[in-house]
């Protein structure tokens, strides 16, 4: 009976994984194409085409400046994606280095850093990102920096925890007896073994990064014009919700499909 259940669950989770992969691929393709080609110029304004409902020429309609929404969503998605990659990349690299070193060597530095890390993790990410943006100003590069800093503590915690576990295992002791240097052991021997844990947090981090970028840009504290941004598009869409409700649909669903896809993928991986 137990066997039957576990078999059924693998099927279900791989379904979740597949569905997620399809969603993410769909948006990725859209973003990738948007990087090189869009049906219209993203900043081409037209007074006559203002707030037009979806049609064959403009499948998602036009915005309050007569710009093609599909084109802007395509470029907005690629910008969201690039920012998320940069943010998660920063968080992962910095977090892994700090987490691995402090976890492996321990001592006073580790104790102090962990206290700071705990305090930072307890803090809501949005609030911390807002403070950093308030200090350094907005724009896409500052946003990457701000969110990157916000993302570091969670990776430090994950990597440190894993390294603490690994360092007690026999293969690490063997390597030490064989005279391998500490840095070799940490980065060549231990790191490959914590791949699984790191992959899970990278996926979740990616979802968070997309959501945070959209939220900050929605608040007007992230990506600045003329760069198209999904979050900012939604804030513009909101001001003409009554007479142009379609404006919100494409940018909103693009974010949702991307984050939902990432959620499904990580869910499928976690419970496999």
């Amino acid at each position: 009976m137990m066997k039957a259940r576990s078999k059924r669950s693998t099927i279900k989770y791989s379904k979740s994984f597949k569905a997620g992969l399809i969603l993410v691929t769909l948006i990725l393709l859209l973003a990738l194409v948007g990087l090189f080609w869009t049906p219209y110029d993203v900043n081409e304004m037209s007074f006559i085409l203002k707030n037009k409902a979806p049609s064959l020429l403009h499948p998602f309609g036009t915005d309050n400046f007569g710009r093609d929404i599909l084109s802007r969503v395509m470029q907005g998605a690629s910008l969201s994606f690039l920012i998320a990659v940069a943010v998660v990349g920063t968080g992962t690299v910095v977090g892994t280095v700090i987490g691995a070193l402090t976890g492996y060597f321990g001592g006073v530095v580790d104790a102090v850093l962990m206290r700071v890390n705990d305090a930072l993790s307890a803090f809501p990410g949005v609030l911390m990102a807002l403070v950093i943006i308030a200090v350094i100003g907005n724009g896409k590069y500052n946003l990457i920096l701000a969110l990157g800093i916000v993302f570091v503590p969670s990776y430090v915690r994950v990597v440190r925890g894993e390294v603490l576990k690994q360092k007690e295992l026999d293969y690490v002791k063997n390597m030490k007896l064989m005279g391998a240097s500490d840095l070799h052991i940490i980065f060549i021997d231990i790191l490959p073994n914590i791949k699984t844990a790191l992959t899970a947090s990278v996926l979740i981090g990616f979802q968070n990064a997309v959501l945070s970028e959209a939220g900050m840009s929605y608040l007007g504290l992230g990506v600045t014009p003329p760069d198209p941004s999904l979050g900012r598009m939604l804030s513009e869409a909101q001001s003409c919700l009554i007479y142009a409700p379609w404006y919100a649909v494409a940018p909103g669903l693009t974010i949702l499909f991307l984050t939902l896809g990432l959620g499904f993928v990580s869910h499928g991986l976690a419970e496999r």
């Binding site: 259940r5 990410g125 949005v126 609030l127 807002l130 200090v135 984050t259």
Partner: protein, 314 residues
């Protein structure tokens, strides 16, 4: 008791550190607030005078200590933009934010507990699968998009709820609730989804423990085991999680207040960042940080009261 005193001491130290770091961050920002307030035509004497008045003179440390001294007496400085005490500005807007947070937290608690029980009743059953998909959607949807969709569907198309202007609960409680329900749902859904997923996983893994099998073997019913044993243990791990959720609700309200035009702290914070009104930003950030730290301390303390194993461990 000793534990509680230790916890409160560490809370005070944490708050002091946070206040110093935020003060430092806003002190090193390039640009002179006195000059930008007076304009380029001001004479150096005028600027000096205003700098004195705004507390911008001296080293960072001495300014921080002066600020701290004033803060201890309840004086948190003046807004650059509104020319009024920060405390007054904040207290005007506190009600809306606290109201939103309370309605959201009630929604989260009322719905997440029964939903997680439902989900955990038959792991991987039909109900569980549907709820799993729903919680995944709930965690993936941006709060402001949810807010826009809710406004469009329930506010504009169906006009079930008021989307006009904010009503204070002391003036008209019914009107307040009718206005707050859509914002509160927008804040609550993502956090509710997290809570349901977390509680479900807790209950499912608790159910695998040996004591559940023993209880079953002794002839206890499924429901009795669930309520007497499993839930008790699940609640313990849920407390810490709930403290985290409260912090997240507060953060979520920053964005949602913007969506629905609620005159709360979050909106004031975003506007003050845009206006470079740093005394206001500083105090709101501190205020929210203090709430988060206090919630975590309370969670730690109640954790210990509910679960005696923790206190015996050290």
């Amino acid at each position: 008791m000793k534990y509680i005193i230790k916890k409160i001491a560490s809370l005070v130290i944490t708050l002091l550190i946070i206040s110093f770091v935020t003060f430092l961050a806003f002190a090193v920002i390039p640009g002179d607030a006195a000059v930008s307030k007076l304009g380029m035509d001001a004479t150096p004497e005028q600027v000096e005078e205003l700098r004195e008045e705004m507390g911008l003179k001296g080293s960072v440390m001495s300014r921080y200590l002066r600020w701290l001294g004033n803060a201890a007496r309840g004086n948190f400085g003046k807004s650059y933009r509104y020319d009024m005490p920060v405390t007054e500005l904040i207290s005007e807007r506190l009600g809306a934010t606290v109201g939103l947070a309370c309605v959201s937290l009630v929604l989260i608690l009322v719905f997440s507990v029964p939903l997680s029980l439902l989900s955990a009743a038959k792991p991987n059953g039909a109900v569980d699968n549907v709820l799993t998909i729903l919680t995944q959607i709930g965690m993936a949807i941006p709060q402001f998009f949810l807010g826009i969709v809710l406004t469009l569907v329930f506010g504009i198309l169906l006009s079930w709820f008021k989307t006009g202007s904010y009503v204070s609960p002391s003036v008209d409680f019914g009107g307040f609730l009718s206005f707050m329900i859509l914002p509160a749902i927008s804040v609550a859904i993502p956090k509710m989804s997290m809570m349901v997923k977390y509680l479900r996983d807790c209950i499912v893994s608790e159910k695998k423990n040996d004591y559940v099998r023993t209880a079953k073997a002794k002839g206890n019913g499924e429901a009795a085991i669930l309520f007497k044993h499993v839930l008790k243990n699940a609640v313990i791990s849920a407390i810490t999680f709930f403290a985290m959720i409260t912090a997240e609700v507060l953060a979520g309200s920053i964005v949602v207040e913007q969506v629905f035009g609620i005159p709360g702290l979050g909106r004031l914070l975003v506007n003050s960042i845009n206006n470079r009104d740093f005394p206001v930003v500083n105090v709101i950030v501190l205020y929210m940080a203090a709430l988060v730290v206090i919630m975590n301390t309370l969670a730690d303390i109640s954790y210990r009261i509910v679960d005696p194993r923790v206190s015996r461990a050290d």
